[in-house]
């Protein structure tokens, strides 16, 4: 039975590949591909579930191919099936099927018809990677895929300003979650001294009681998982990304942000539940977070005057309650609640345009002017306060900017004083020296060698910060991202159990994709286009192919699972010792920043309103 599990990932993968071939005008073929794939997936799922029930709900584990292996690290694609998988798998396949059928005529003649179905299948692949994952590495692959697919779906109307801006906003948080995930995996790795599978989790308490009782395990690891889950499920204080993700066609908003994507945090909590099933402090934290979110999100939802935002916050509120249910150990209820909430919100979003007609009609016959709160009484004042706060979404959106991104930008701007030219002049010799030292470690004094990882990591981080805040030259920013990657790998290379093959794997990706990206930017410049990063240029309008090539290069460079850089990313952290907190911090921050830098670069150069005004371009605010 377990041999069937790979089908659940392979079917969407094959669909995704097939959907790349038809042209935008071949709507029937595109739709046919998508619906066949999802239909097939559905049938497989039904058949599998039936026999799984017949066998008495066993936990099914599939040991997949090992992508990378050495004495300390194993990176294998493992799959797993239990009742969490079953519920999530069924809900997602049913919803995706229905929404695909819905989209057939809904998306008819849309410029991005093909892009929509490509992204749908990409997203679907990602979500199934997560749902059927058997270990954290596989889950992480899915996690990254849905991050990127989300970026595409939010920025679906890439020729307008707000979708692109909001896509960047959301993907930045997703990147944070991704790296958080990576850190959590790293910590687990060190704790268990091996890559742990979900199959083993069920006996965790029995086999690894000692580990679980460690203080790090008591709080830090679960907290990192909770952070990741909270971001993905738009819990406090991250809730404000959800309404802003609803920029694409209503169908994609409905299925991804109304239902599937936003419940992935819950999935992660359910998966990691064995880590903390006896950890009452942490359970209390989860319950408190869920409770706080549901209260705040309800308050916000009550005052929302736009339909989709209202639904987004109501959904967040229910997910808060689901968090509480998970915290209380009510797995079955949480799963049921998830399914119901997903269906309800998808439906509400899909019909949201008809709200205008329904409520207008309703008001026509039943309107009664509402009473005002008494502003002179204390309770009335509290209500007014709550109203103001909720209209402002409790400042959540500003909060993200002020506490998360602005500090990074500030720090990045400190380093703007270094001219680009210096960087090139200065960095190459340093890198060359570093490289020499790696290959001739014996010549480096111990005291120095001990500090070198942090030094090189820091140089890399500075480069990433600059890339993240570069306002002028896209080529310089691209170069800085590469520099960051090179120095990061250098810093890891100084850690002892160092295998050149790993670094080479990582670097091969960087070099190939780096060069491709450079070539794209050069070609744009040669065509006389502006590529400064101070504004959006929307070059995908006139250079659609270049935009696709650059996108692939960007994904490769930022460690998306299309390139060896991805495995490298995982490995890099794997090589950091569990007590090298500084290096961990630096590396994680570098990874976050270069991902953001690359996305920002792609968005600024290729997306947004096209700078030439000989054709229709939307107003910035629309």
């Amino acid at each position: 039975m377990s041999q069937l599990l790979p089908l659940f990932v392979l079917i969407p993968l094959v669909g995704l590949i097939l959907s790349a071939f038809p042209t935008n005008k071949q709507e029937k073929l595109l739709f046919g591909t998508a619906i066949t794939v999802i239909g097939l997936h559905f049938l497989t799922m039904i058949g599998f579930t039936a026999s799984w029930i017949g066998e008495g709900f066993p936990d099914v584990h599939y040991q997949g191919p090992t992508l990378y292996h050495n004495n300390t690290t194993t990176f294998s694609i493992d799959l797993f099936f239990d009742r969490i998988t079953m519920v999530y798998g069924l809900v997602s396949v049913i919803l995706t099927f229905l929404v695909s059928v819905f989209s057939r005529y809904y998306m008819h003649r849309e410029k991005g018809f093909k892009r929509f179905f490509n992204n749908l299948l990409l997203f679907y692949l990602g979500i199934n990677c997560i749902i059927f994952s058997g270990n954290f590495e596989t889950l992480f692959v899915g996690w990254e895929i849905i991050g990127v697919a989300s970026f595409f779906l939010i920025a679906f109307y890439r020729e307008r300003y707000l979708p692109v801006k909001n896509a960047l906003k959301v993907v930045s948080l997703y990147r944070l979650a991704d790296i958080g995930m990576l850190l959590a995996i790293w910590m687990c790795h060190h704790a268990f001294e091996k890559s742990i599978t979900f199959f083993e989790l069920h006996n965790l308490q029995a086999h690894h009681a000692a580990i679980i009782e460690q203080p790090a395990f008591q709080l830090i690891i679960p907290l990192v998982f909770l952070l990741v889950a909270a971001i993905k499920s738009a819990q406090l204080p991250f809730s404000s990304w959800l309404p802003r993700a609803m920029e694409g066609p209503t169908t994609s908003s409905a299925i991804f942000y109304g239902s599937l994507s936003v419940h992935m945090g819950v999935f992660l909590l359910l998966r990691t539940y064995p880590f903390w099933e006896n950890n009452h402090v942490f359970q209390a934290i989860v319950i408190a977070l869920g409770f706080a979110t549901s209260i705040v999100a309800t308050a916000i939802s009550r005052v929302q005057s736009s339909v989709k935002t209202q639904i987004a916050y109501s959904s967040v509120a229910q997910i808060g309650i689901i968090f509480m249910e998970v915290g209380l150990g009510l797995e079955a209820l949480a799963l049921f609640h998830f399914a119901c909430n997903a269906f309800l919100r998808t439906y509400q979003l899909l019909v949201s345009p008809s709200v205008l007609n329904y409520l207008m009609h309703d008001q026509f016959f039943h309107f009664t002017p509402p009473q005002h709160d008494n502003k002179d009484r204390f309770w009335g004042k509290i209500k007014l306060t709550l109203y103001v706060l909720s209209v402002k979404e409790w400042n959540l959106d500003g909060l993200m900017y002020r506490w998360l991104w602005q500090p990074l930008k500030r720090v990045g701007q400190w380093f703007q004083f270094i001219p680009d030219r210096w960087l090139t002049v200065f960095l190459w010799p340093v890198f060359a020296a570093g490289l020499y030292m790696v290959y001739h470690k014996e010549q480096v004094p111990d005291g120095i060698e001990h500090n070198l990882p942090a030094v090189f990591g820091a140089i890399g981080l500075v480069a990433a910060l600059r890339a993240f805040t570069e306002r002028n030259n896209a080529q310089a920013a691209w170069f800085l991202v590469i520099v960051n990657q090179l120095f990061t790998s250098l810093s890891i290379a100084f850690n002892e159990q160092f295998g050149f093959d790993q670094i080479h794997l990582f670097l091969s990706g960087i070099i190939v994709f780096g060069a491709v990206g450079f070539a794209c930017l050069r070609q744009l410049k040669k065509a006389g286009e502006s590529i400064n990063l101070d504004r959006f240029h929307g070059h995908s309008y006139e250079h659609p192919r270049l935009s696709v090539v650059f996108l692939v290069a960007s994904l490769g460079l930022s460690g998306f699972p299309v390139s060896p850089t991805f495995i490298g990313e995982d490995l890099i952290l794997g090589h950091i010792h569990h007590n090298q907190y500084l290096l961990t911090g630096i590396t994680a921050l570098s990874l976050i920043l270069d991902g953001l830098g690359v996305f920002r670069m792609y968005a600024r150069v290729f997306l947004g309103p096209h700078e030439k005004n000989y054709h229709e371009v939307a107003y910035r605010s629309s």
Partner: protein, 848 residues
């Protein structure tokens, strides 16, 4: 610096005039999107508008050139346009300019240049800092019923309501105390705030335009509601000035936050000489070239129509003597009824059809039973003095469980989401695989109950409500009936049954559904008007007055109100029980006729719908069309007024036998009953604002769907039940969505009047407002001399003879075969989409 030259009142008035005038979406009233420049000639207006606001006034050069290459613009038409406008000697030069010359892109629009200073001088994106919260406050304030908790003190005005919140809550919309203090200062004035932000009174006006046009959707909505407070049901006190002041304070707050409190006003950090936003801009050669292309594009079509007309009327006027008819039917002039009329006539050759604006000359407010508000049922500019009330409605309105707002609350939300979740899943499956009517969908037949009763006749002059008289008195009815019948030339040969056919449109999931309803009924279904008119025309006392005036309606004639749903192709008849026993059999037969015509109409429409196979069984097509109107996933239940281009004022015989592909408004008018044109003014007066308004709205929404239209409707988010935006933080999107206009070829409306050019000229000259439409070329006008059939085109104040260029006429034996041969567009780009519109055909008489 203090303000002498800044005239606040004047600037605000002008600003309101220039902002988009679209009303809240519950009523969709088509209007010229560029109404503020209507005093200029068309091309001057659109290019000036483009220079000021930066929209695309026409297609771009490449698009026209591709249209030329594809044959959609014929060389001989282009040559004629060039010859007329540039002289024979220059045709060669201009042809090469049109075909090959490259032109510099247009400079940035005038509006927006000053506020660019914030970014240039301060590195600040003020719009990003201010707009999201501003829109949220504004939308919450104007919200008609989405939020569960409403904006408090909405009766105090926006600024005062915010002040009350700021004073009485422990939280604030502002980050800095100084900004809050400014807002709370009761003596603060607009110039004070502008002085702080801009600092130079010479730039105030320009700044306000920059600021308000950076979110023209919201500002336009505020200005519209200020001007027409009754355009929303839940009344909100609001003024554009309040919005501007609030926005300025929020800008100050944002600047304080970002720069500390001691920043310099914009004018000092970013000095700039004020520009005259509205200075006339000399026409550039590029603009000239574009206008020539647009003329060629338009005349390419008009000429084709005129060739067809010429052919049809070659053997003198075809206005045969009127005969007795099986039945008569009065339709709305709406171009969507053009095909329904054609098919009805084909099925029942002995019937006669007429066209008039779909409110049938009766203007009133309507109150459905238990309604808490009133609805206006007449053209938007008319202010009725009458109220029609509905009684004895048997059925109850159904509720939609899943729209329950309780799903958004905390505890109840918990139980609702647990219990409704699976219901939603089932509902979704049903909606997708077997679309059905649902209480949440717009259904034109629920506007008025089919079985309910209307109080049409006034009981006593004291029976008044809300300042309006309830019902019409007999003389008032007679005036209206007589005016309508004489206007359309229906003065004798009355058939036993006369159908008064209104129209409406049903659709699911469509915030713009009002745009598909009857434009002459303020964007609502016209059933009430049809029923009211039928009642009046059947009233014995009314008939007595008419007879005294020489208009004799025989006792054997009965008027029947009905309504055609243009999306689902369903017709419902009202008050059938009032038809005399003797007429019932005939009525049943006519109903079958309409049914058959509807089948054919559905088939004709289906050619544009990807989801329906036009060649399948006709009954199946009809069923598919009906399902489309209740399908959640169908963003195109119909195409509204898409493709409209012509407006005929004349006898039906003028166009009978011409296949116009649903592109013509048709207003009946008989020059023989009105030789001096005494009635013509009354007939023509509403046409430019109604049909021309529709046409121009489609024009602008089509040529620049992003800036003048609403863009694709797929990402739309309903804001406060008054409009749509793309994003949770986006500006409102006035105009028409892409899915409505993609079939539309943006040509200006041509009104063709069947009367002597001298009479037409005298008529339009007698009304300056009417005359302006034609003199400024917003609408083309052509007179057809009845005796000779010759065409006279109105240009520069006179009518000139126009001889059609084309020689080819296309013939079709069977309309439905022609329809089956049509191709569907591949993309909504104009070079593809225009190919979907079928050329004018002459339908062979035999098949009529």
């Amino acid at each position: 610096m203090h303000t002498n030259e800044f005239d606040e009142h004047h600037v605000l008035q002008e600003l309101m005039h220039f902002l988009p005038a679209q009303t809240p979406l519950k009523d969709f009233i088509h209007h010229n999107s560029l109404h503020a420049l209507q005093h200029l000639k068309f091309y001057d207006a659109i290019f000036t508008g483009a220079a000021i606001f930066g929209f695309q006034p026409t297609f771009n050069l490449n698009e026209y050139r591709n249209l030329y290459k594809s044959g959609r613009i014929r060389p001989e038409v282009l040559a004629q346009i060039l010859e007329q406008r540039k002289g024979r000697a220059n045709v060669g030069i201009w042809t090469s300019k049109l075909l090959t010359q490259q032109y510099e892109p247009t400079p940035d629009p005038r509006v927006g240049r000053l506020r660019m200073g914030w970014k240039a001088a301060f590195h600040l994106n003020l719009d990003n800092l201010v707009q999201p919260l501003l829109f949220r406050i504004l939308c919450s304030y104007l919200d008609q019923g989405i939020a569960i908790k409403h904006f408090p003190y909405e009766n105090e005005g926006l600024l005062n309501a915010v002040r009350i919140l700021e004073t009485n809550s422990y939280s604030s919309f502002f980050n800095t105390k100084s900004a809050q203090k400014l807002l709370l200062d009761p003596n603060i004035s607009l110039p004070d705030l502008l002085n702080r932000v801009v600092g130079d009174s010479a730039l105030y006006e320009q700044y306000l335009y920059d600021q308000q046009f950076s979110h023209r959707g919201w500002s336009g909505m505020v200005a519209t509601i200020e001007a027409q407070p009754d355009s929303i049901l839940y009344s909100k006190k609001i003024a554009l000035k309040d919005l501007i002041m609030l926005e300025l304070v929020m800008e100050i707050d944002a600047l304080n936050t970002a720069l500390g409190e001691d920043w310099l006003p914009l004018a000092q950090r970013y000095p700039m000489a004020p520009i005259d936003l509205f200075a006339p801009s000399p026409r550039t050669e590029r603009e000239e070239v574009l206008s020539l292309w647009q003329d060629a594009f338009e005349w390419n079509y008009y000429d084709e129509v005129l060739v067809g007309l010429k052919h049809l009327n070659a053997s003198g006027p075809r206005t045969e003597p009127q005969q007795d008819h099986g039945f008569q039917a009065i339709f709305c002039i709406d171009e969507r009824e053009c095909s329904f009329r054609r098919h009805t006539e084909a099925v029942a050759p002995h019937c006669a059809t007429f066209g008039c604006p779909g409110f049938f000359g009766v203007e009133f407010y309507f109150q459905p039973e238990n309604g808490k508000f009133y609805e206006k049922l007449c053209p938007a500019p008319v202010t009725p003095k009458y109220l029609i009330k509905e009684h004895n409605v048997a059925q109850k309105r159904k509720n939609a469980l899943l729209y329950n707002k309780k799903t958004h609350t905390f505890l109840e939300g918990f139980f609702w989401s647990l219990s409704l979740g699976l219901v939603a899943a089932v509902q979704l499956v049903v909606n997708i695989f077997n679309p059905k009517k649902h209480p949440a969908f717009a259904d034109s037949f629920t506007h008025m109950s089919i079985t309910g009763e209307l109080q049409v006749e006034n009981i006593s002059p004291d029976d008044r409500e809300n300042g309006w008289q309830v019902g019409f008195t007999v003389p008032e009815m007679a005036t209206r009936v007589e005016a309508l019948l004489r206007g359309i030339g229906m003065i004798d040969h009355f058939a036993p049954l006369v159908y008064v056919m209104a129209h409406g449109s049903s659709s699911a999931n469509n915030p713009h559904q009002g745009a598909y309803n009857c434009g002459a009924c303020s964007g609502r279904p016209g059933a009430v008007n049809a029923r009211v008119f039928a009642f009046m025309a059947n009233h014995p006392k009314v008939r007595a007055i008419l007879a005294a005036n020489g208009l004799v309606i025989p006792d054997s004639t009965h008027f029947v109100g009905a309504m055609h749903d243009t999306a689902s192709d369903v017709v419902v008849f009202y008050d059938e029980h009032k038809i005399a026993e003797a007429g019932l059999a005939a009525h049943r037969e006519h109903k079958l006729t309409f049914e058959k015509a509807l089948d054919m109409n559905a088939k004709e429409r289906s050619r544009r719908f990807a989801s329906i196979n036009t060649k399948q069984d006709i009954k199946k097509i009809r069923e598919d069309i009906r399902k489309r109107s209740v399908s959640l996933f169908e963003p195109r239940p119909e195409f509204g007024h898409g493709t409209n281009a012509l407006c005929f004022v004349g006898n039906r015989n003028l166009t009978k036998g011409l296949f116009l592909d649903r592109r013509a408004f048709m207003n009946s008018y008989d020059y023989r009953t009105d030789p001096d044109g005494a009635l013509l003014l009354g007939v023509m007066r509403p046409l430019p604002p109604v049909c021309g308004g529709i046409n121009l709205e489609y024009y602008f929404s089509r040529v620049d769907n992003q800036k003048m239209g609403a863009g694709t409707k797929l990402p739309h988010n309903v804001m406060g039940l008054i409009g749509v935006a793309n994003s949770s933080d986006g500006d409102l999107r006035p105009g028409l969505p892409l899915q409505t206009v993609e079939v539309h070829d943006p040509v200006r409306l041509m009104i063709l009047v069947e009367h002597d050019p001298e009479v037409v000229l005298r008529t339009i000259q007698s009304d300056p407002a009417l005359y302006e439409w034609f003199a400024n070329e917003w609408v083309h006008l052509l007179a057809i001399r009845p005796k000779t059939g010759a065409f006279y085109y109105f240009k520069n104040g006179t009518f000139e003879l126009y001889e059609p260029l084309g020689t080819q006429t296309r013939f079709a034996n069977d309309v439905l075969e022609l329809i089956e041969s049509a191709k569907e567009m591949e993309t909504s780009h104009i070079t593809d989409s225009t190919l979907e519109n079928l050329p004018v055909h002459i339908i062979n008489e035999a098949s009529l």
